[in-house]
């Protein structure tokens, strides 16, 4: 920046003494605020024993979990202590009842080859020796001496434990070798069996095959058409539970919609009695305002827990919780909007001899209805986000499902599926609400402009 001379600074100081000689507490207020915040942060560091928590946390899990959001793995195991080596897959693996993947190869000489990322990352083994190939290196592991022994130099992607050799191959997977078994984990990008699960007759068929079966194939299950069967299989997919997830998602949407709408309907008449400029009684206004504060301050969580006990878990409890909180929030915002209206239209209608109800209808409502609707839409939008979370305490909707999927720490792909659906819903509803509010604010704008034109 350009610098000023001392004289210029002095002359400015003389002209504006109030800016330069302020009281002490005002001059040092930012400093005190800063020191205060710093002290508070140190206190919180101690309060939550943050250093200890961070020391004991498992940050290495984060990338692992995040990869599980968008990928799945298959873990074949090969027992070497049986007469014949056979691949075994865990129950309910993504490959179904008869797994025969093309990346597990039974060679002519009795050895097995598992291609983890093509031949460049693979393992070939029989009962005596395993050969791990990765990163351009070939590492032979001898299995004859009672524990796995690596001959030759050991690359850094291999860890040799006492009785196990672990070869990590990055994202694509890993190989674990002991003398009596070889365990492979191969990771695939994407979601397994998203459309049809392994029990479905359509499982493992290409899109073309499925379409031709639906259009002209013989009935796979006698008595039902293939289209119905396919729809039923997708809806009841055991792993992804599309039907359940979508129903719960709809419950969440309904909870937000119902709670906000009912809250608005109840708050609407009450707000007129709470607004100081409209209500005939000041006491009533105070009572109603405190009532609104009460409904708001008893948290949505408390209402949710109470109504879950009263109605049993489900969307009814969630709707009721949002409804009660919204009476408070909308009642407060409605009555504040009413207190800010222009009094002239009311006086005009009053001067024609209209009764109380007609004055409200023609003197007040045209002015506040757009504001009311806009605020209700805003609350609807924010409740759509909020309804997810109160669901987790049992108040219905997708929240509980999400929480249960997360608790096991193994279903992250399902979690991500639900998160994507929630993001989509929030995005759509945000845009609807924004669109409607923009239309409304144009109405308000037009109204103001017309008023200004007419003087």
């Amino acid at each position: 920046m350009a610098t000023m001379t001392a004289e210029e600074i002095l002359s400015i100081e003389e002209r504006y003494p109030q800016v330069f000689r302020r009281p002490l507490y005002k001059r040092f207020a930012p400093l005190f605020l800063f020191i205060g915040i710093l002290t508070y942060l140190v206190y919180v560091l101690w309060f939550f024993s943050l250093p200890q928590v961070l020391r004991e946390s498992h940050w290495e899990r984060l990338p692992l979990f995040l990869t599980q959001w968008i990928s799945y793995d298959l873990q074949p195991e090969f027992r070497l202590d049986q007469p014949e080596i056979t691949p075994k897959y865990p129950r309910f693996s993504a490959l179904g009842e008869n797994p025969n993947p093309d990346w597990v190869i039974r060679n002519r000489d009795g050895t097995f080859t598992v291609l983890i990322d093509g031949p460049a990352k693979s393992v070939t083994f029989d009962k005596a020796q395993a050969t791990i190939v990765a990163n351009g290196q070939t590492v032979p592991v001898s299995l004859t001496s009672g524990k796995p022994v690596i001959s030759g130099p050991m690359p850094d992607w291999i860890t040799a434990h006492d009785d196990e050799v672990v070869a990590k191959m990055g994202f694509v997977g890993e190989v674990r070798v002991t003398v009596d078994r070889v365990k492979v984990r191969k990771r695939f990008l994407g979601w397994a069996n998203f459309v049809f699960d392994t029990r479905s007759p359509f499982f493992g068929k290409s899109t073309g095959e499925v379409i031709s079966l639906i259009v002209s194939g013989p009935e796979l299950k006698p008595g039902t058409s293939n289209l119905t069967l396919a729809g039923d299989n997708i809806w009841n997919n055991a792993q992804w539970q599309h039907g359940d997830v979508w129903t719960k998602l709809l419950q969440t949407i309904v909870m937000a919609f119902l709670g906000t709408l009912l809250g608005g309907i109840v708050a609407f008449p009450l707000a007129f009695f709470a607004a100081r400029n409209i209500t005939p009684s000041g006491v009533l206004s105070q009572v109603l305002k405190r009532f609104f504060d009460f409904m708001r301050s008893v948290d949505m969580l408390i209402w949710a827990l109470f109504f879950t006990r009263a109605f049993g878990p489900g969307p009814l409890a969630g709707s009721a919780a949002i409804f009660f909180t919204e009476i408070g929030t909308l009642g407060k915002t409605y009555s504040e909007a009413l207190e800010n209206i222009d009094d002239k239209p009311r006086e005009g209608v009053l001067s024609t001899g209209a009764n109380g109800l007609l004055v409200q209808r023609y003197g007040v409502m045209p002015e506040v209805i757009p504001v009311f609707i806009s605020q209700t839409l805003y609350q609807w939008e924010s409740n759509t986000r909020g309804a997810t979370i109160i669901g987790a305490v049992g108040a219905g909707g997708i929240g509980l499902k999400l929480w249960e999927a997360m608790r096991t720490n193994s279903n992250w792909a399902n979690v991500f599926y639900m998160v994507l659906l929630i993001l989509l819903v929030v995005f759509i509803f945000d845009n609807i609400s924004n669109f409607l509010r923009r239309r409304l604010s144009r109405t308000i704008h037009d109204y103001n402009r017309l008023q200004a034109e007419q003087g």
Binding site: F257, L262, R309, I389, W403, V419, L423
Partner: protein
């Protein structure tokens, strides 16, 4: 003329009736759907709606105070319902903090720290995301989308993810609410930034100030009161959020409340509700007072 007017009003009336009719239809359909999906049905449960209040009424109203301040109850039979003194957290000799106050403090601290995190990140982001102040349009788009994502991402998922990493408890709640606050505050902040008076900015630009200097000396002083006002509003929201996250495993008073309600401990529940209600009420009123001092009546006009 009069005919056209009549036609227009009747058309408008038709649209209004249609809109209200559709809304009512959607409402009744939703009610039916919610009722069907619920474990207990509305009209079956309605006569019993006040039954659940019967367990809530304690045998002895003094137990509410005893539960709140961890004073031994004469009804103590060794069950969890009346083991009030067990929760005492001794600070100095015989001086102790009652358990529920400590839990409430945890919840409030979670809210304050996460609001602080939100503020610290949202301020620079908001200057990058404001159309009139951004250093580069591409950067603006990235930051804006990032904040949108943070805002829409369900808090409960972030909390669950970090519960698996930093262990279940308040730290996961702080991270979840903090990330959400960055997005929420960032949006409000950049909307303020887009409405500032640009003359101060132009003045500094004329003397050759760089971006940081312009933001610090021309823009920040204009928007800081409004920023503070929205941050205080966020504190109110975050206290509620941290209670709810607490109930699903984030620690603090939410967890205790959920346990107490699900086990039907009347006195404990009343004590917790009383404490939570009072705290939220005090925070709301204090923040409203402070906001009024900072920016005047403007703080209470919600975006119409």
């Amino acid at each position: 003329m009069a005919d056209a007017w009549r036609r227009q009003t009747s058309l408008r009336r038709f649209y209004t009736v249609l809109g209200v009719g559709l809304l009512l239809a959607a409402m009744f359909a939703s009610m039916w759907f919610a009722d069907e999906a619920n474990a207990g049905h509305f009209f079956d449960r309605l006569p019993h709606i006040l039954d659940f209040l019967s367990w809530l009424v304690p045998k002895d109203w003094n137990d509410v105070w005893r539960a709140l301040f961890d004073i031994a109850s004469p009804h103590d039979t060794g069950t969890q319902e009346y083991n009030f003194p067990l929760g005492r957290i001794f600070v100095w000799g015989g001086f102790y903090i009652p358990e529920y106050f400590e839990l409430m403090l945890t919840t409030v601290n979670v809210a304050l720290v996460s609001t602080f995190i939100g503020f610290v990140f949202a301020v620079p982001f908001s200057f990058i995301a404001a159309r009139n102040l951004t250093p580069h349009p591409a950067l603006r788009l990235i930051v804006k989308r990032f904040m949108e994502l943070l805002r829409a991402f369900p808090e409960i998922v972030i909390a669950g993810l970090f519960a698996a990493i930093v262990s279940i408890g308040p730290i996961a709640a702080i991270i979840a609410i903090g990330l959400h606050s960055i997005g929420a505050l960032g949006k409000l902040f950049y909307e303020i930034n887009e409405n500032i008076d640009m003359r101060a900015e132009e003045g500094l630009r004329a003397v050759g100030a760089n971006w940081f200097e312009r933001v610090r000396f021309a823009d920040l002083p204009q928007v800081l009161p409004n920023f503070m006002s929205y941050t205080l509003l966020r504190v109110e929201i975050n206290v509620r959020a941290s209670t709810i996250i607490g109930a699903v495993g984030g620690g603090g008073i939410g967890e205790e409340l959920k346990l107490s309600i699900s086990r039907g401990f009347g006195a404990k529940t009343l004590a917790l509700v009383l404490l939570l209600f009072t705290t939220i009420f005090i925070i709301d009123q204090f923040s409203a007072w402070l906001r009024r001092k900072l920016v005047g009546e403007q703080a209470f006009m919600m975006g119409a």
